[in-house]
Symmetry: C2
Subunit: 264 residues, 2 copies
C-alpha cells in the first residue's frame, strides 16, 4: 500500500513505479519536481527527431536526450531507469498502439534513444502558486487540447500541426499568466495565442481533439499554450516501425526542480 505522502520526490515516485505499486497518473505527485513527456525512438530516427525538437522548442522543450541504448537520463534524473520508472508506457508499431505495459525492460534495444520533454505541470504549479486559477485542475479534469492550423517546422519524416492546450482566464489573469509562463521556456513557455480560436484553426472549443472540454465563462479569454502532445502526434503520424512513449498522464518524474527550469 503506497500513500501519497511517500511520493514527495522524483526518487520516491520512480521507485513506486519501478516496484509496480504506482501504475496510474502522476499529476500532483512530487510537488516541485518537474514531470516530463517521454518519446523513445530507434537511433535511425533520432537525428531527425532531435532536429524537429530544436526547430520547435515551444511544443518540444527538451530536458534530456540519452545516448543510444542508455536508459539513464543523466541530466534529468541520473539515478533513474527509463525502462521501469514510469507508471505505464505505450508501445507503437508503425503508428498503431499495440500495448500499454508497466515496464519496457523486455522490449529495450541497444539503439533506443530517449527524449525527455518538458510538461505543462511545471508552469501550472507556478500559476496556482500565483493565485491564477487553472480551470481543468479545479474541475479535476484533463486539460483540453486542440490541433491548430499552425504547422510545426518539419525535420525529415517528422512534420505536423502544432497541438495546443487551452486554459480560460479573465484578462488580468491572462496577462499574469503570460508573465509567469514566460519564466519557464523549458516547459512550453509563454502562450502562443489568446482570444481568437478560429484564427489558429480551432472551430469549436467545446470539442477538443484530446483531453476534456472546460467551460469558458463570460468575460474570460481562451489562452493557448504549445502542448507536449505535439511531438507525440508528430511521431505517430511519421509511423516509425517502433516507438515507445509514456501513457498520457503517467509522466516521467525527474529530479529537476520546477524552479531550476525558471529563467529570471
Amino acid at each position: 500500500m503506497v500513500h501519497h505522502n511517500d511520493m514527495s520526490t522524483g526518487v520516491q515516485v520512480r521507485a513506486a513505479a519501478r516496484s509496480g505499486t504506482l501504475t496510474g497518473q502522476t499529476s500532483g505527485l512530487a510537488p516541485g519536481f518537474a514531470q516530463a513527456n517521454l518519446v523513445i525512438l530507434p537511433a535511425e530516427h533520432a537525428p531527425d527527431f532531435l532536429l524537429f525538437c530544436q526547430r520547435n522548442p515551444k511544443p518540444c522543450p527538451l530536458l534530456d536526450v540519452t545516448a543510444p541504448g542508455d536508459p539513464v537520463p543523466r541530466r534529468a534524473a541520473p539515478a533513474a531507469d527509463l525502462r521501469t520508472d514510469l507508471p505505464q508506457y505505450r508501445v507503437w508499431e508503425s503508428g498503431r498502439l499495440i500495448a500499454e505495459p508497466p515496464d519496457i525492460t523486455a522490449l529495450w534495444r541497444s539503439d533506443f534513444v530517449s527524449f525527455v520533454i518538458g510538461c505543462s505541470f511545471t508552469f501550472e504549479a507556478a500559476l496556482v502558486r500565483a493565485g491564477v486559477g487553472v480551470r481543468h485542475l479545479e474541475l479535476g479534469q484533463n486539460v483540453p487540447m486542440y490541433r491548430t492550423n499552425i504547422p510545426c517546422a518539419p525535420a525529415g519524416r517528422f512534420h505536423g500541426p502544432l497541438v495546443v492546450s487551452m486554459r480560460p482566464m479573465r484578462p488580468p489573469d491572462a496577462i499574469r499568466a503570460v508573465q509567469i509562463t514566460s519564466r519557464y521556456p523549458a516547459v512550453h513557455g509563454a502562450p502562443v495565442h489568446l482570444g481568437f480560436p478560429e484564427a489558429i484553426g480551432i472551430a469549436d472549443l467545446s470539442k477538443p481533439d484530446f483531453g476534456e472540454a472546460v467551460p469558458i465563462l463570460a468575460g474570460e479569454l481562451p489562452v493557448f499554450w504549445a502542448c507536449g502532445v505535439t511531438p507525440q502526434a508528430v511521431v505517430m503520424a511519421a509511423c516509425p516501425a517502433l516507438a515507445i512513449t509514456h501513457r498520457p498522464g503517467c509522466m516521467f518524474v525527474t529530479d529537476l526542480r520546477d524552479e531550476e527550469l525558471a529563467v529570471g
Copy 2:
C-alpha cells in the same frame, strides 16, 4: 535653426527647450533616453501626492521627486532645470488651465515639489525594436486614452479613476507586448487589461476621452496600459490652488537610458 540631429541626447533636447528653439512635441527626440511626465505641486500637497503615487505605481511610476524649491531632478537629470527645460508647460489654478508658457522661472516658488513620472514612450520604443507594431505611431497620431471604472487607491485629496492608453494588436503581438512591457515597471509596466473594454468601463473605443481614436482591425485585441494622464487628471480633479504640468506631448527628456529602466 535646430535640426533633429542636434537632438540625440537628453542634454541636447533640454538645451533646445531652454533656449526657446524647441517649443513643440518631444516624441522621437533623443531616442534611447527616457522621457517623463511632470507634475509640480506646492509642498503642502506633496506628501499626499507622493503617497498616491506609491499606492498606484502602474499609472504613477516615479522616476524622481525633488526637494522643495529645488528645480533640479538629481536622479533623472542632474544638470537639468525643471523651470526651463521642457518645451511647454501648463499652469493650473484651482483645476483651471490659465497659461501655457515655455518657461516657468517667473512662477517658481521655494515650496514647489516636482514629480517626474515615467512615460510610455520608453516601452513603445521597446515594442518597435521588437517588431511589434504600434498603431498610433504608424499613423502619426496621439495614443487613444480612456477613463476606466477602475478606481485608483486614494491618498488624501487625490483620488479618481485609472486612465488607460490602448494599442490594438494581433494576439501573438499582444503576448509579446506583455513580455516586453513587463520589463519596464518604471514606465507603466505590463498591460492592465486586454480584450474586453466594457469590463473596465469603456463603452466605445471610437470615442477616447483623450488623444485620438485608432482603427482596430479584424483579429486584433485592444490592449490597455495604465497611463501617465492618470496622475494629471487626479491632480486637476483635486483642484489645488496651483499646479504646473508639462503640456501633453512636450515631455521632460531625462538622462536616464530606456534600458536603465528595464528589469531582467
